[in-house]
Symmetry: C2
Subunit: 275 residues, 2 copies
């Protein structure tokens, strides 16, 4: 699974990088948008989504609190609450994401574009920060991102770094990797350290074997990109981590967004301290 | 030359890590202290010193302005001014540094403990930030520094990174190197980025060959320390850079501090944003 899929162009139905969060959500709600949100509403914060029954919500909330770098919480709903004013005007979590994934006991059972038939009064929504936001900041600072240049999805890897468990949720930290020259890596540390809401500073750089990654050319999620001889691989905690923990926990019922089909909020990346 | 020499214990004449800047300066002035200042007055900012004739001061000032990472200016005097209230109470630059070096046409001609017989009305004093300050911050953050643990001087290297020249001042950037695990290197970037007054963020990490360093085991200044397999070498711009540029320019007359015998000011490291 891949919450922050590629930056590839999206069939836009009039939507652009300058669209507002509300315009993107309305397009998703009306069925005009069922594709990726990458490249749309670039000023706005996009979020990873996890929707769990209230019986598991306490455990998952503790899991996020104990692992803030992979699981930076932007918002948590009340049980059954589907209007999330905190994240955006007229935001209905049942309809405003372009595509969802519905899971039962860890198996994918549906990929709907609307949740109304699946909604339950005990569902709690978690919105988690996404690396789209800090990539925006890195690009604004003039730091090239190879996967963006090549229209690929970012490369992601399971590590040997254990998350801190809570209830049934546990498993390895998943990281995303971006190759950079050392001077850019140093600047990227400074830029992303300012935004703990979207994974914060890298958790590793240099030798991948030190965090249990055997082969950079074989990512566990996403697409491989080349690391040039004058570059270092730089690793950030990744929003796939909580999805991986959910997959491990195999809850009787849960919902996530489909990879790359993010919740677009009204929050502004620049309010996170990004350009 | 080495402006920030080892952290080895100093014959203290009652001076300690808790001494004030003024106490250290008074001991230097009275002759009770002619040794290193490392480990003394740890709360206070220590500075590299360069004293040049006014005829060269404009060029050197531009050199510092153009190369702020190796040459972070803390203060510049008026020509002939030897009382530097800006840096400390009752601070007399002619007597308050434990040991000086006097240079003529690039040759060392004296290592006095007092400058009064060398003083001229056209001399301009430059005080430059020193890595003692940020090492204080790194240690306070729990980041071990191997050269400190081993009582050695930090390892320093000439690089293939050119400084931006000004008048006769030019030459390669000199860097200091500290080996760290990646997670500590990432924290060290964040900590030192906050203190541009004392060299700021690293300028490189990882492969030394990329900045023209052939062999880490053979530093150009200071003492080699081992880099373990799970560590990266992390490189900071170093205050030896301006001394190296002065040595290249071979001015008819100039004065520096003797390596490790720093000017101890009244400024507090914690006022730089360091713990």
């Amino acid at each position: 699974m891949n919450p922050c899929d590629s930056h590839s162009p999206t069939a836009s139905n009039g939507l652009t990088a300058q669209s507002t969060g509300r315009e993107v959500r309305q397009a998703a709600r009306s069925g005009r948008l069922s594709g990726h949100t990458s490249g749309l509403a670039r000023e706005q914060v996009q979020a990873n989504l996890a929707i769990l029954p209230a019986s598991l919500a306490g455990d998952f909330l503790r899991f996020c609190q104990r692992n803030p770098k992979p699981c930076p919480l932007l918002a948590v709903s009340e049980p059954g609450q589907y209007l999330l004013d905190e994240l955006g005007e007229d935001l209905d979590i049942r309809s405003d994401v372009p595509r969802y994934r519905v899971w039962q006991h860890g198996e994918l059972v549906a990929e709907p574009t609307d949740l109304r038939e699946f909604w339950r009064d005990d569902l709690v929504t978690f919105a988690l920060g996404c690396s789209f936001s800090f990539e925006h900041g890195l690009l604004a600072a003039g730091i090239a991102l190879r996967h963006v240049q090549q229209g690929r999805n970012v490369a992601m890897y399971r590590t040997n770094i254990a998350t801190r468990s809570a209830g049934p949720f546990h498993g390895p930290m998943v990281v995303s990797m971006r190759p950079m020259k050392a001077a850019d890596a140093i600047r990227a540390v400074q830029i992303t350290a300012r935004v703990p809401e979207v994974h914060g500073a890298p958790i590793h750089l240099g030798d991948p074997a030190l965090i249990g990654i055997g082969n950079l050319a074989r990512p566990d999620y996403g697409d491989a990109v080349e690391v040039l001889p004058d570059e270092l691989p730089v690793f950030w905690a990744c929003g796939v981590t909580p999805q991986s923990a959910i997959a491990t926990a195999r809850p009787a019922f849960c919902i996530t967004h489909a990879p790359g089909h993010m919740l677009v909020t009204d929050r502004l990346n620049r309010h996170l301290g990004l350009g």
